[in-house]
């Protein structure tokens, strides 16, 4: 049974930078998800370039996606272009942060 993009995004919604109370999807850190059969490739970023939590989040993301049925290979790459900006936070993420919308 093959995986679809929505399932991958749902899995990534369980991944957090442990110092930020918003998951990486709603924070706008996930730039691209490619599904090629049983191989998943993700491009994501961190809130600041060179942030040491980057490797931690990548490991968490790989673990979350790897638990999906039908996934055999997971590749998660950290990119910094374009640089992350607060405008990338979703409406749900802004609500989680308590921002007035």
């Amino acid at each position: 049974m093959s995986v679809n993009k929505e399932q991958v995004f749902d899995a990534l919604k369980r991944v957090y930078d442990p110092e930020i109370p918003v998951d990486v999807v709603n924070l706008g850190l996930v730039y691209e998800v490619l599904v090629e059969g049983d191989r998943i490739a993700v491009k994501m970023t961190t809130t600041a370039s060179g942030c040491p939590v980057g490797n931690f989040i990548v490991a968490q993301a790989k673990r979350a996606i790897g638990r999906l049925e039908g996934v055999k290979e997971v590749e998660v790459a950290l990119v910094y272009d374009p640089p992350w900006h607060e405008d990338m936070i979703s409406e749900e993420g802004r609500r989680m942060l308590g921002w007035r919308t």
């Binding site: 957090y16 442990p18 930020i20 918003v22 600041a48 673990r63």
Partner: protein, 316 residues
């Protein structure tokens, strides 16, 4: 030693992020300073290396500020400057208490700057940022007077209290504490560390005349170096260690054991300092060491748990 170790880590983190060869001079000279201190080399070697390391760290933050005018960079850069001042006093053969305050300021400002950067997600007002800068200015002014006169310690103490109250009011940890697992552990650690910073500020005010040596001085320093700084290390280790060592180290509830032990042992130690009870001070100090050993052991256990999970087929 703790200042040197953290100076190395902070320098390395910034050098990697900057990716310029000259920036690696900061952690390199910090390591050389530590090696010189542990070896039989005369003291000026270690002191000189530490001055060079901190000067390069200041240069790194000037470079970062030149490209990104962000307020948290100013705070962390000021922290690097305080480290340079403390190291320069050390090289100048001033008594150790002259440098201790500046070194404490380096670590406090570095941590505070990082927290300000995260707290921008709370959409802080300009007034709240101004309050933090004011608190830091008061603290630095006080530090500049501590080696000269007693009121300096009181002013710096007032600054520490103001910084601690700012962190307790505005840190994003109050939101992440609602998330179970690692986010809650980090938030609890951070907030409890801010309480020790607040206590340190109170001690610096009440015991200002003792900022030289003795049990009150022990309380003044260890509330910061153990209660605030080491607790920050405990909070961030579950993220930094896996990232740096490329291992899986899943959060475990037993991490709370070393955190609680550190707090209780610090209560005992500082209680002994303030009550001038040598046995309490001694046992507290001993248990501080045990807490750090338990921290190391717990981290190793967590790595083993992560390794075993990988072996049974979890992808990581």
């Amino acid at each position: 030693m703790i200042v040197g170790f953290l100076g190395t880590v902070i320098g390395l983190e910034r050098a990697v992020a900057l990716n310029k060869p000259w920036a690696y001079g900061a952690p390199l000279f910090a390591v050389l300073s530590a090696i010189a201190q542990l070896s039989a080399l005369p003291a000026p070697w270690s002191q000189t290396f530490s001055v060079i390391s901190s000067a390069i760290l200041v240069a790194i933050f000037c470079f970062l500020w030149w490209h990104r005018h962000e307020s948290y960079l100013v705070i962390i850069g000021l922290g690097a400057l305080l480290w340079l001042v403390g190291n320069s006093l050390w090289l100048g053969d001033y008594p150790s208490f002259s440098s201790a305050g500046w070194w404490a300021g380096f670590l406090i400002l570095t941590i505070t700057g990082e927290r300000l950067e995260l707290s921008r997600l709370r959409r802080l007002s300009n007034i709240s940022r101004l309050l933090l800068f004011l608190a830091i200015a008061v603290c630095i002014f006080g530090l500049s007077r501590t080696s000269i006169e007693e009121p300096g310690s009181r002013v710096a103490g007032a600054g520490l209290i103001a910084i601690a109250l700012w962190l307790l009011r505005w840190d994003i940890a109050w939101r992440t504490i609602r998330l179970a697992g690692l986010p809650r552990f980090m938030a609890v650690s951070l907030l409890s560390g801010y309480v020790w910073l607040l206590a340190a500020g109170v001690f610096w005010i009440i015991y200002a005349a003792d900022f030289i040596a003795g049990p009150h001085y022990d309380a003044m320093l260890h509330a910061i170096f153990l209660g605030f700084v080491v607790v920050m290390i405990f909070a961030h280790a579950p993220v930094i260690l896996p990232s740096v060592m490329d291992v899986s180290m899943p959060f475990q509830n037993f991490f709370y054991a070393h955190l609680i032990l550190l707090h209780l042992s610090l209560f005992l130690r500082i209680g002994g300092d303030l009550a001038e009870s040598a046995p309490a001070r001694m046992w507290g100090g001993l248990l501080n060491g045990v807490a750090i050993l338990v921290f190391l052991a717990n981290n190793i256990c967590a790595v083993r748990i992560g390794y075993k999970a990988k072996e049974v087929g979890s992808v990581s």
